[in-house]
């Protein structure tokens, strides 16, 4: 008589499910064979789909991969290091304009890539130096300012950017040996970029560096007593995420073949934030799911009603923060966990990574004070 019958009514099950979605989801710790199977499966699909799809599908999927690259950088910055940026559309724009101007000047389209990476890394580093001292709400506002100023700055620099007119380029033509159409060739360029970024991000988010990022996010004061020079760490992550956004900008030019100031305004900044929130902080696959969201959902809603497309981001932001603060990445983990935990061949968790304890922290920078309260000093 000690154990009451479990509540089985639909509403209580729903409530339980919703609570689960609001909880941080540690990694799944899937067995090695499953990881390889997933990897090979995804690879096979990713290679076969463009060979059997219409050009517009391939361009859409290329955009997904481009935004996923940006999302992984933002995930490192916001999810792992706890620094909020609303302004990475600016670095995206810098990357895109370097590519467009460079290609127009007769550079090879792959030669502009390293230039854009280095420039956006340096700009991110220099911007991050003072900005990251602010932290919290102030950092969010400063980076928001960066996003707001970007279209105006592009118009102002019309000598190079051709202002409102923008720049048309014809680029990323597939080499003859490949036998691919342009849309397929561009798709594979984006796929290679995303794969590299995935591997690098994965490495940086684990091990010594990954621990230092999370340490700074969870308790900066304690991190410093362990030898983490938090200002350096934050700046390095900011610069890296800026370079990811710059890479996204270059790939964008390969796909769209046009840059104009109004492509890189607040709408893009909001799209990036929606990507991060919908995808979920602290999971790499979340960045890809979030990228699918910001490419496809506005298209679907526009089919229903033109005015609805703008609403999609707003509604998604509200809904996800209320219901699923850990995003689709967290949802996937919650759904797969009961299955994965029954599988044979798990080696037992060697390392564990959980997303932050709550959604992004937007608020005045009380972190140092809170850290101190928390540890009693």
């Amino acid at each position: 008589m000690t154990s009451p019958a479990p509540a089985t009514s639909a509403s209580s099950r729903l409530r339980g499910g919703l609570r689960g979605l609001r909880q941080a989801q540690p990694p799944l710790d899937a067995p090695v064979w499953l990881k390889w199977a997933t990897f090979l499966g995804v690879l096979a699909v990713a290679v076969l789909v463009p060979l059997n799809s219409a050009p517009y599908v391939n361009f859409d999927l290329s955009m997904v991969m481009i935004y996923a690259v940006v999302g992984m950088g933002l995930n490192l910055l916001i999810g792992f290091n706890g620094q909020i940026s609303l302004g990475h559309s600016a670095f995206f724009a810098i990357g895109a304009y370097i590519a467009a101007v460079g290609i127009q000047e007769g550079w090879h389209y792959l030669a502009v890539l390293p230039v854009a990476l280095v420039v956006t890394w340096v700009v991110g580093y220099l911007f991050g130096l003072p900005a990251l001292r602010l932290g919290g709400l102030a950092l969010a506002l400063v980076t928001l300012g960066l996003a707001i100023v970007t279209p105006a700055a592009i118009k102002r620099l019309d000598e190079y950017t051709h202002g409102q007119e923008g720049i048309n380029v014809y680029t990323a033509t597939p080499p003859d040996w490949s036998g691919l159409e342009r849309d397929q060739w561009v798709y594979f360029l984006c796929l290679v970029a995303l794969a590299l970024v995935w591997v690098i991000t994965r490495r940086i988010s684990t091990g010594r560096i990954g621990r230092s990022l999370i340490a700074v996010r969870d308790n900066e004061t304690v991190a410093r007593t362990l030898g983490v020079r938090s200002s350096r760490t934050k700046t390095a992550v900011f610069a890296l995420s800026a370079a990811y956004a710059g890479l996204g900008g270059v790939l964008y030019v390969y796909v769209v073949q046009f840059v104009g100031p109004d492509s890189f305004g607040l709408v893009m900044a909001i799209a990036f934030i929606s990507l991060v929130v919908v995808g979920g902080l602290g999971t790499l696959s979340g960045a890809i799911l979030g990228a699918f969201f910001i490419v496809y959902v506005p298209e679907w809603t526009a089919d229903i009603n033109q005015a609805a497309s703008g609403m999609a981001y707003g509604i998604a932001l509200i809904l996800f923060m209320f219901v699923m603060p850990f995003g689709l990445g967290g949802l996937v983990r919650a759904l797969l966990r009961p299955i994965v935990e029954r599988l044979p061949g798990r080696r037992g968790p060697l390392s564990m990574r959980t997303p932050p304890q709550a959604g992004p922290r937007v608020g005045p920078d009380e972190s140092a004070e809170r850290d101190r309260d928390q540890i009693g000093i």
């Binding site: 540690p26 091990g207 340490a215 004061t221 020079r229 060697l350 564990m352």
Partner: protein, 256 residues
Amino acid sequence: MSDVLLSVRDINLRFGGVVALDGPSFDLHAGQICGLIGPNGAGKTTLFNCISRLYVPDSGQIRLGDTDLLTLRTDQIADVGIARTFQNLGLFGSMSVLENVLAGGYHRTRSGFWPTGLGLPSVRGEERREVAAAREVLDDLGLSAVASKPAAGLPYGTLKRVELARALMARPRLLMLDEPANGLIHEEVLELADTIRRMADTRGLSVLLVEHHMAMVMKVSDQVVVLNLGRKIADGTPDEVRAHPEVIEAYLGGAA
């Protein structure tokens, strides 16, 4: 007597009008355990925070060996050989126990952003060695069973030991423990005292120990420093300090 490892001289620190530290001085010798005791508000944790460079004293001098600690940044303290724990735990809640302990090795290890991103073999080798070292420390403190559990949600006494493990992972010369017995039951306290003694003896550590649990301090310490209202009122062996009139006064609460 052995060499002086930590030397604290005339530390003064005020917060607004409140005098937190009023010129205490003492020496800690290499390989010894020094208990730092005193009533609440005596300035023990404040002194800890001065030594670990979280607070900047108004005047005074703190040296570790030949190093003037007051010229260093907070993040350089680990490098000169100081590790500490915090009164109310300074663990990273979202990390596993193993990862928390691994974080203690940060200052000794060198894998940077670029080598990590490129996945160089040196990075992997270092991580493997670190994981092995961390498992050894966890084993030593009887924490192997919880190694993969997230730190958030474990019992308080376990977390205290995890924090001690993280500090040991830093392989310090000076280990500063801020109320390590806080929240432990009596048997655990005695066990902890043995552990601390063993660490000091086997690893050649010096320990600075802030603790309210008097039996433990008296049992484990070679030297006891007593603070009251920011001033040092006694300094000596446990027996000397126990018999000191001012200490009895401060603890038994002589009429003001």
